[in-house]
Symmetry: C2
Amino acid sequence: MSFRELLQQVVQNVDGAVACALMGVDGIEVDCVLQEEVGLDVRTLLIEYSSLFRAAREAASAHEAGGVSELSVQSERLLVVARLVSPEYFMVVALEPDGNFGKARFMMRVTAPKLLAEL
Amino acid sequence: MSFRELLQQVVQNVDGAVACALMGVDGIEVDCVLQEEVGLDVRTLLIEYSSLFRAAREAASAHEAGGVSELSVQSERLLVVARLVSPEYFMVVALEPDGNFGKARFMMRVTAPKLLAEL
């Protein structure tokens, strides 16, 4: 299955998902599937959020908390969950605020190894 | 109930919780309850992580995603969940990696208004 199909599968299987992307930890998008319009620029926000992943990684490593595998940010209009796929790439799901957070985390856990196999 | 008692209640009621703190968004700790030794400096890590909360807030606000209410970082040795209590303060729970994430989020949702009433 291609990157795109794997990302699409996540979006389709998570209630409230509006986007799923594969991104470099450097913030460069590899691929992104947008499910519906939410009235804000999700792709740009995800790029901006990728710096959080880098900052969390540096802080955790500096304080001996080990590698960062997952990060989530809940804001008024969007819930974003990111999960590391490889040391250089992570996948991210953006959901409506009342979207199914647990299902998103589950789908990412299942999909990350499949994405990794395609990298 | 005092700050400390409220924080203690969270630590005691969440499986795998190692610390619960009330912090300023500027990174200054108001109070912190440490449950057990995890072999890393949790308090310093939480101060470092508070910059993530500020960065997430700036990014979300700049991209019209609204205010940030919750942030979580899962690393190899620690799971940290932060929740906004007021525009200036947030509470944070640190758990062992396999700690009860759902219960931590629930306890924070219940406790945040009580902490706010004491601020």
